[in-house]
Symmetry: C2
Subunit: 222 residues, 2 copies
């Protein structure tokens, strides 16, 4: 999502405590900082809608949003600040996901979220996709052994690409839906952005990958 | 697809040469019988539309359709007989796919097609799905080393199930589309049945699995 430069954005981020300036300082101690045992990280959190809602829904977990666009990050931070009762289990990091390994210790993250990432439709830009092999290799490092990656998108081409890339990387497809919202998933916040596609009757695609095919006790219950 | 009993069906099949009565007789020699080097088999060929069109489009290959419903098979055979110039590279087998290994030699089939198979929506009937683990294990036996399984369906639940089942079985997802007909694929016949979903703007899901991740020279060209 590209947008017009906001004159107040940089200054806003400078003074906003919720935007962590020294990302590497907390490497290995994010769970202490956010007082949680389970750490969720959203890469490309945009204006922060998903993160803010989820941090309220699931207060036991810690929620970190990464965004590289200064303007968008400023809007997310302001949204956070304007909440009547801001959650304490949340943090924003301004910067490129390329730095993931500088900010997070090996195995520190439990769930990585890729929500409606930029589809980079042109073939030559596919390497910029957040599900490109080079990113996937990084995710493996910072994810815990039983950790998982949850992806949602409205873009069929990005989704298909991602399924093949994760397979190439040796990941295990733990769950998949080619029409995720045909069933209600109350535990998983619907953002306004996502709602727009649902209103247009367009399917939401979702996949969950794990490093290994752990035996999942949920399966027995189904 | 269940249908009313057709009084002429059994007798029609008895006299129709295109419906092979002694399926096991040709085990290991289907390619000779159909004068081809590449053998395609469609499991659950229904009224035969896909098979008849493909056998005309790709006359170099042999095309075998398996169907267990006598009435539906009779309609397919009659369609074949009524063609002005019936293809010689085609055969129909009446019976249950469970018998696949009695009819085909190990590695004899090059491409297996599962088109719009019965979705068996109820959980307890999932074992009847043609992409259930028990069927998949059979397919592995009769498929050639570089062979593949092509699946098309309009049913999201069946598609998701199939992706997970094939993964469990150790198959390699060679290609996937969650909206196959958004791009034209002239090489792959659109049946009337499929066209109905397309007319309703419903997506067609498609996946191709292989036994192993062979290096595909096509990829380099893309």
């Amino acid at each position: 999502m590209r947008m017009r430069k906001l004159p107040w954005a940089e200054e806003y981020i400078r003074q906003a405590d919720i935007v962590i300036k020294e990302q590497s300082k907390y490497k290995g101690t994010w769970k202490q900082k956010l007082s949680c045992t389970k750490l969720h990280v959203e890469i490309g959190c945009g204006k922060g809608d998903y993160l803010l809602r989820m941090s309220e829904k699931d207060t036991e977990s810690g929620w970190i949003g990464i965004e590289k666009d200064t303007n968008v990050m400023a809007i997310a931070a302001r949204k956070y600040d304007r909440q009547p009762q801001p959650s304490q289990n949340i943090a924003f990091l301004l910067g490129d996901a390329q730095a993931l390994q500088e900010w997070f210790e090996v195995g520190e993250i439990d769930v990585l979220h890729l929500n409606f990432s930029d589809p980079w439709p042109k073939k030559r830009a596919h390497k910029k996709r957040l599900s490109h092999a080079s990113f996937i290799a990084m995710y493996r490092q910072v994810l815990s052994e039983n950790g998982e990656i949850q992806m949602k998108t409205d873009n069929s081409s990005l989704f298909e690409f991602s399924l093949l890339q994760f397979q190439e990387g040796g990941w295990y497809l733990h769950d998949i839906s080619v029409d995720y919202r045909r069933i209600s998933h109350d535990e998983d916040a619907v953002t306004e952005y996502e709602q727009r596609f649902m209103d247009l009757q367009q399917p939401i695609y979702r996949a969950v990958w794990k490093k290994f095919p752990y035996i999942n006790t949920d399966k027995k219950k189904r």
